[in-house]
Point group: C2
Chain length 196, copies 2
Amino acid sequence: MPRPSLKDQRSGQILDAYLTCVARFGLEGATQERIAAEAGVKRPLLRHYLGNREDMIAALATHVIAAFAEVTEALEAHFAATGTPAELIDALFASGDGHDPRLMLAWQALATAAQNDPDLSRKLTQSYAEFLAVIETVLARAHPGAPPDRIRAAAHGITACIQTIDALEPIAPPATWRTDLKAAALTLATCLGGQT
Amino acid sequence: MPRPSLKDQRSGQILDAYLTCVARFGLEGATQERIAAEAGVKRPLLRHYLGNREDMIAALATHVIAAFAEVTEALEAHFAATGTPAELIDALFASGDGHDPRLMLAWQALATAAQNDPDLSRKLTQSYAEFLAVIETVLARAHPGAPPDRIRAAAHGITACIQTIDALEPIAPPATWRTDLKAAALTLATCLGGQT
DNA sequence: CCGTTTATTGTCACAAATGACAAAAAATAC
DNA sequence: GTATTTTTTGTCATTTGTGACAATAAACGG
């Protein structure tokens, strides 16, 4: 019988290196040389496991969207039925926990490249919408009387704070910025009950 | 005497095309071919007016930071001494007004590339901080009793909403998202008075 | 008209990225 | 040990990006 396949393991390893490079250099800056160096393999292996450049981008998009969905599902599992918005915010802003800034940076890079790719654009929009939906669910449960408009707005604002945290990461922002963005998210989450 | 110099005009024209390409393809994806095509000039002109690749990036960074500062100063001139936070939010989210989504996208692209360029990183951080400061000034004037922490947090949240609007632009988000993000910013601006 | 300065175009060489294929090495079943 | 399949490496041509220089065209003052 054949030699045991390392396809899954190697593919994951290369995809992770790809993710790192995209987060650091952007989508066009993530050359095969850099990816191979980051992954610690020879360049032809990239083609062997993930295909040509187009295939690699598609694989990365699938990976990022899947990882995003995983985060979303984990949040839903933990907070959809129980837990306060404050706990949700705590979990979202817990640094290092299960949260990977590379994911959002790669998401942004893909979004930039999606301007001429309606299908990718649609997938990214959907993944973002699903994330929003979970936040809305938690907020709506904590504030039954709040109007849907306010719930939606708060969910968008909270998500924007999270997104901005990761987007600012490359310029090494002052530590207070992180605190302030978390506080802003918390304000949005708790202010729903304060004023109708 | 010499032929009249078009340096300023041409430089501006090329820089604008550069900005467009960076917003669409990212910093590494903005090749000289694309820039020249976008600007409607031959490629060697880029070198003639802006220098080599490194010079071009520096020129773009200067341009983006200057444009950002211009927006900041305009805001300060209009709202620092008078005007409500609600009017500020209205101005910030007025589409097409004087606001150019390419600017924020290029800012992000530069930020991504600034990971190995401490000087650029510092300049970007500073431009962002100055923008924040103006928002804080307006909020503090409207809510004299609010603690500085809350003011800072609100300013960060509002800025995050603006940043996210532009960052989502490439994927052509639903119209409600824009409305919701503006509503979130408005909530942050007005919620300061509601609860101490 | 002439000279000077600038704009504009053309062209070359060099480096980097990518795509594609061939070949060697390794591991497992039989 | 042999065959088979997979991994891994090596190497080529093609394309693209960049840098640098030369040459032409144009505008203005004298």
